[in-house]
């Protein structure tokens, strides 16, 4: 396997002749993708071939007296150590596998910087990362040595996210100076090939995580965004950031007071803000789970993160109460983040079929802080309101960027900064105005600081945070955890049945829970509840405003007026949920 960086021109850099690094690792091999690789691979498939979105530009400093040869030897050792850096992703029909090459060559650019070699290396890394990787044929690493007066000062890298995640980057960063110094490091004893074999062992791991997902899917709102959509801004997705040492100090105080982690404080605060804006007392977030607490995975270079489902019943009490409950839910989520994505997808689709709506879980939270904590926060007594207020004078919010396409409706994330709460919110402006992202940031700070000094009631969160709950026009009603537009649901049922004659009614079910009943006139091909449910689900794909009726009543003829549906002679009725999706023609 060979690879070389594209010819790069960067200001202030003079290109010297490139060098070739030959590497020979301990083994080669081919295996199915690990579950972590599958997650990134699936995301890459959203994009066009050659799209560089999942490339990671990165720089590593070179300190000491190492010469270019020593740096090139370190690069070779790095690729030899970590099989993920010599892995290609090859398609075979519908399946994709990872293929590790034992040996190969890597062309490494060499540059002389006139000044500021680290800055020059960063610019060079961005250039190297600007071109997408050919995952099947190219090594997932490109690099170049940046020298000043002939001495290496930095290594500029572009890496494929399929090869490394944030955790692995830290692993590599820790090894790098030792490799440059020529140290003989013990080889990692767990690689993605080993992980792939483990995930296919008998019995397979992940059973408990699958049960966690099934429970979460049944208790999550079908969407946090079940309210009228709006005209999106251009570009549609907007991201704002905040740097707030005060929020960090307050979050640490709350964590210590309530026996929870700061990660949980930030997660629950995000859930509370989202619930307050969207009118939900139960919030569902997908947490990015690093999965690094499992033995072996901690030292593995390669993507291991997966999405975990966290459903937090915020209740109608206090923010403090929600913190204690939510902490347990976040812990359970982080504990159940390692699973077979195909099995979770099947459970997800089955629940959508049963519920009668797509289950939209496009609300995310990611804590990227190293080891999940801050270090070196300002020494401010959180009980001293005046001191905390002064600290808030250092808070800064800023616009990060706007993007045409993101697979999220809202995305909360910390930044890696160790001594301040660096926090980001991205919103989909097809649902929330772009300025909500910024107001959620200042609202988060206000909520945390306020909760240090007083009991905050959850029904006051929107007001405290300065956020406006979304309005729902007449005709929207809550059914369980879900908000539903009855007029839109009825309109869709009419369209589905083709005759234009149908109605929905909210009635009391046998168990006292609200039962949405759909009345329609049967016609050939649409003469069973199953056929109607199949057609409705297909037509409702992607919508967050409608819900399939729990019960379908098929009549021979329409009534004289809409109030007469319940009294019409019935040809057939039922939930239409059988057979199960695995044998049903309805598939997404």
């Amino acid at each position: 396997m060979t690879a070389g960086p594209p010819a790069v021109e960067a200001p202030g850099l003079t290109a010297l002749p490139p060098r070739t690094v030959e590497f020979r690792g301990a083994r080669d091999g081919q295996a199915a993708l690990t579950w972590g690789q599958q997650g990134i691979w699936r995301s890459t498939q959203w994009l066009d071939d050659g799209d560089p979105y999942f490339n990671l530009p990165w720089t590593l400093p070179v300190t000491g007296a190492a010469d270019v040869d020593a740096v090139l030897r370190a690069v070779g050792r790095l690729v030899e150590r970590h099989e993920t850096l010599r892995t290609a992703f090859v398609r075979d029909g519908d399946s994709t596998s990872q293929r590790v090459s034992r040996e190969g060559r890597l062309t490494v650019g060499v540059y002389e910087a006139a000044a500021k070699p680290m800055s020059a290396a960063k610019a060079l890394a961005a250039e190297l990362a600007a071109t997408g990787f050919d995952y099947a044929a190219e090594l997932p690493i490109r690099c170049a040595v940046v020298c000043q007066r002939g001495r290496p000062r930095a290594l500029a890298l572009a890496l494929s996210h399929l090869a490394l995640d944030g955790w692995s980057l830290n692993t590599v960063a820790a090894e790098w100076p030792r490799l440059v110094a020529g140290e003989d490091l013990p080889g990692p004893d767990w690689q993605p090939l080993d992980q792939a074999a483990f995930e296919r062992s008998d019995p397979p791991p992940g059973g408990q995580a699958l049960r966690h997902w099934r429970t979460g899917l049944t208790s999550a709102p079908r969407s946090m965004f079940d309210f009228p959509a709006r005209e999106p801004e251009e570009p549609r997705f907007v991201r704002h950031g905040m740097d707030s040492p005060a929020a960090a100090v307050a979050a640490e105080a709350l964590a210590a007071r309530h026996g929870v982690t700061t990660s949980s404080v930030l997660t629950v605060a995000s859930a509370a803000l989202l619930g307050a804006v969207t009118g939900h007392r139960t919030a569902a977030l997908q947490l990015i789970v690093s999965n690094r607490h499992h033995p072996g995975m901690e030292a593995m270079a390669g993507p291991a993160a997966q999405d975990g489902l966290c459903v937090i019943d915020l209740g109608d009490g206090t923010f403090a109460g929600a913190l204690r409950h939510g902490h347990r839910r976040t812990m359970a989520t982080y504990r159940n983040g390692h699973y077979d994505p195909a099995l979770v997808l099947a459970a997800w689709e089955a629940e959508a079929w049963r519920r009668g709506a797509d289950i939209d879980l496009d609300a995310f939270f990611n804590d990227v802080r190293q080891a999940g904590r801050w270090q070196g926060l300002p020494q401010v007594d959180p009980g001293d309101a005046a001191a905390l207020a002064t600290l808030r004078g250092r808070t800064r919010t800023f616009f990060v960027g706007a993007y045409p396409a993101v697979k999220a409706r809202i995305f909360f994330a910390t930044g890696p900064a160790p001594s301040t709460c660096e926090f980001y919110v991205l919103v989909d402006t097809a649902f929330l105005p772009g300025d909500v992202a910024e107001r959620m940031l200042t609202g988060l700070e206000e909520l945390l600081v306020r909760a240090v000094s007083e009991e905050v009631l959850l029904d006051q969160v929107a007001k405290i945070a300065g956020l406006d709950p979304v309005p729902r026009p007449a005709g929207w009603t809550a059914i369980g955890h879900d908000w539903v537009s009855l007029p839109e649901t009825e309109a869709l049922l009419r369209r589905v049945c083709g005759t234009g004659v149908a109605a929905v009614a909210l009635e009391d079910g046998d168990d006292g829970a609200p039962l949405l009943t759909g009345y329609l006139v049967a016609r050939p091909g649409l003469d069973t509840p199953e056929a109607v449910h199949t057609a409705f689900m297909r037509a409702a794909t992607g919508r967050t405003d409608v819900l399939a009726p729990h019960h379908y009543v098929l009549c021979a003829a329409p009534p004289a007026d809409s109030a007469g549906w319940p009294g019409c002679p019935r040809l057939a009725e039922g939930g239409g949920r059988e057979p199960s999706p695995s044998t049903n023609p309805w598939e997404r």
Binding site: A255, A256, G259, V260, T261, T262, S263, S264, S290, R292, H293, H294, P295, R324, R328, T330, M331, A332, Y334, R335, D367, A371, G372, R373
Partner: protein, 77 residues
């Protein structure tokens, strides 16, 4: 003995950031000592392996050393 052993496992889960002696002497919650989410996850795995038990995530016993000790002791009865 159980208390000391659980404190050792908390220390191990923290990657050595927390000393067992400090954990035993603390009069505050484990997160207040600096135990992070990922360290908690390691700790739960360590406890379940060592004591062959299921650590229940619901309930306040996760917060403190004594809560954990009591929870594990209850599971071993």
């Amino acid at each position: 003995m159980l208390r000391e052993r659980v404190a050792e496992l908390v220390s191990k889960a923290s990657g050595g950031d927390l000393a067992a002696a400090d954990i035993l002497a603390a009069d505050c919650s484990l997160p207040a000592l600096g135990l992070t989410s990922i360290a908690y996850l390691r700790l739960i795995d360590l406890l379940e392996t060592e004591f062959d038990c299921d650590v229940d995530l619901d309930g306040g016993h996760l917060n403190t050393l004594d809560g954990l000790v009591e929870h594990i002791a209850g599971q071993r009865k």
